[in-house]
């Protein structure tokens, strides 16, 4: 028995308090189970921030790791506030074609304009169950924002993060989310674009923002030789990278299965199976592709294979039968290896491979709905039609329009934002700061102090040189100024 709403009521006679327990109806009990599942799933998705942090830290050099921690915390926090202020309203505040229009600075009981989800929650004002939905959608926005920055590691100025985060969580992501998730024009284009949990909305959006930033940012110092050939800048910690991948994999069990937004018919458990089958196939696909193309078993590529497959299965996870998942996953695993090698040749320096794992795999995943969506699940979800293998061509075209529209919107808004940041603040640290590392240059401290500060100085064994040779006070990262003559 689920505990139902309790009320204390003042008895009309005398001064006794009488407790009246209202038995929960089956309907409220189900609603509570649904809300519980949505919140558990949202928390799993929130934990993906840790996955992104460790993945990026592992792929960075040791002099740029503290910066990742500062960035993840800052961006997640800005996104949380922006989502409350404007993001949610644009994404889910009504079913208009372009943008929602109610729910700014939402509060409990606020009235919303009718949309897809007000019907689902049986109310047009924000209640407890609907709060779960709002939080679940927010952590998606935060994941999308986190994806943007892996590509820009080790050289971007910190100032770019908060500015782009405000625009991204307040405008860019909510627009895409509204168009596909929130009842905008893509949700009703053709039979509707199918994107169950956001291969396009979340992952392609993040990767497109990353591409816009990268085009204005350029490669890391030393990434390309004078003759233009690429050289490796190995990340400093593959075990941390692996931990990041596994945390993301875990988080995806909230990401896709949580997008059922409830527990009806046990659908979320089916989605768990589909998600896991695809990820497993993605690891093996990348393993094989790495062996064939690189003649080695590249640890980073194998991890990226899991990520790419999870990204690819995100859109079709609620639309395909179990058998299609390994096919979608193994292809994504191959795509990510080819993509990383291709971007490297194109002089697009992407330290974590996000353009491939989230961009190319996101496109593949969204299109794969148009191939593998089963008639049973298309009609269950009430969005779109069955895919190519069931003899229907039109859904693939609808999916392609969805990808193209989302990419165009995000790319234009992102490149405008980054160009403005570049013009006003500059987008990239100077060469000396890049050599010294972002940790000491931008944050005044090292991620791994013992690696950069000799033990005698760190422990204070030696007397400070100021005692005998009075040097001017040292300043952060300024390593080329002359000490005054004694």
């Amino acid at each position: 028995m689920i505990g139902g709403p309790r009320r204390l009521r003042l008895a009309s006679v005398g001064f006794r308090f009488e407790e009246v327990v209202l038995q929960p109806t089956v309907e409220t009990a189900l609603s509570q189970i649904d809300t519980t599942w949505v919140i558990v799933a949202a928390i799993l998705v929130m934990f993906m921030q840790a996955g992104f942090a460790f993945l990026e830290i592992g792929f960075s050099r040791g002099k740029n790791v503290g910066a990742v921690v500062a960035k993840i915390l800052t961006n997640f926090s800005i996104a949380a506030l922006m989502w409350w202020a404007v993001g949610f309203a644009i994404a889910f505040g009504g079913a208009a074609k372009i943008a929602g229009d109610a729910g700014w600075f939402f509060g409990f009981g606020d009235h919303l304009n009718p949309s897809y989800f007000t019907e689902l929650y049986g109310t047009e004002s924000i209640n407890g169950a609907f709060s779960g939905f709002i939080f679940f959608q927010f952590v998606f926005c935060a994941v999308s924002l986190a994806i943007v920055w892996g590509t820009t590691l080790e050289r971007i100025k910190f100032v770019a993060y908060p500015i782009y985060a405000v625009v991204f969580a307040g405008l860019i992501y909510p627009l895409v989310a509204h168009w596909i998730f929130g009842g905008g024009w893509l949700a009703t284009f053709g039979a509707g674009v199918q994107d169950f949990a956001g291969s396009t909305v979340v992952h392609l959006t993040g990767a497109t923002g990353a591409l816009a930033a990268l085009l204005l940012l350029g490669p890391r110092k030393g990434k390309y030789k004078a003759d233009g050939t690429a050289r490796a800048i190995p990340g400093h910690n593959m075990p941390l990278f692996g931990l990041g991948v596994l945390i993301l994999w875990l988080g995806w069990f909230g990401f896709n299965p949580g997008s059922t937004l409830g527990t009806a018919d046990g659908r979320f458990a089916e989605v768990v199976i589909v998600t896991n089958l695809a990820a497993a196939a993605g690891v093996l696909g990348a393993l094989i592709a790495s062996r064939l193309l690189q003649k080695t078993l590249d640890v980073g590529m194998i991890g990226n294979g899991a990520i790419a497959a999870l990204v690819a299965i995100t859109a079709p996870s609620g639309y395909v039968e179990f058998w299609a998942a390994p096919i979608i996953g193994v292809i994504a695993g191959g795509i990510v290896v080819l993509g990383v090698l291709m971007f490297e040749r194109l002089r697009l320096d992407d330290p974590v491979g996000a353009l491939s794992a989230h961009g190319l795999a996101g496109i593949w995943g969204t299109l794969s709905c148009g191939i593998f969506t089963s008639p049973r699940l298309a009609s269950y979800n009430g969005i779109g039609e069955e895919g190519l293998v069931y003899g229907n061509v039109s859904q693939l075209g609808v999916q392609a329009v969805g990808v193209a529209a989302a990419f165009a919107l995000v790319f234009v808004l992102s490149i405008a934002t980054f160009a403005a940041i570049k013009a006003i603040f500059g987008l990239r640290v100077d060469a000396e700061e890049e050599d010294a590392g972002l940790d000491i240059a931008e944050h005044g401290m090292y991620g791994y102090p013992e690696q950069f500060i000799p033990v005698p100085e760190l422990e204070g064994y030696g007397a400070a040189p100021t005692a005998r040779a009075p040097a001017a006070p040292a300043v952060a990262y300024s390593t080329r100024e002359e000490v005054p003559a004694t």
């Binding site: 950069f452 400070a464 390593t479 080329r480």
Partner: protein
């Protein structure tokens, strides 16, 4: 025979290495060192407190060459290591008594480097 011992910035190493290879001087060793000179240190601020680090990381190159080649080596190092700012480093030249090649037991200047001027130059 002379030992050229140079303390340089990290980023100067690769162009020096590339030039020395082309000139026929493949044999050298490097060390990651930390040291101080007229360059300032840097201060790390950690949760409100400071720790100042006066020792800066540098690359030390050691390269033993025939006396007649010393100027070539030093010029190459000076050319690439100089930015004009404090902290560019220093170069020292020291005499060397004798040199042996471990593989064959040969001794003398011919075991040192591989440039065309070296007596028993082996390019491989």
């Amino acid at each position: 025979m002379k030992l050229v011992s140079a303390y340089i910035r990290h980023e100067a190493f690769e162009p020096i290495r590339t030039d020395l290879l082309e000139l026929g001087f493949p044999s050298l060793s490097i060390m990651e060192v930390k040291g101080s000179g007229r360059q300032k240190g840097i201060t790390e601020r950690y949760r409100g407190a400071e720790v100042t680090n006066y020792l800066r990381p540098k690359i030390k190159i050691e390269c033993v060459v025939a006396s007649s080649d010393v100027q070539t080596i030093v010029d190459t190092i000076l050319k690439h290591a100089r930015t004009g700012a404090v902290g560019d480093g220093k170069v020292f030249v020291m005499p060397v008594e004798e040199a042996y090649r471990v593989r064959t037991g040969e001794s003398g200047e011919e075991v040192l480097q591989a440039h065309p001027g070296a007596a028993a130059g082996v390019a491989s």
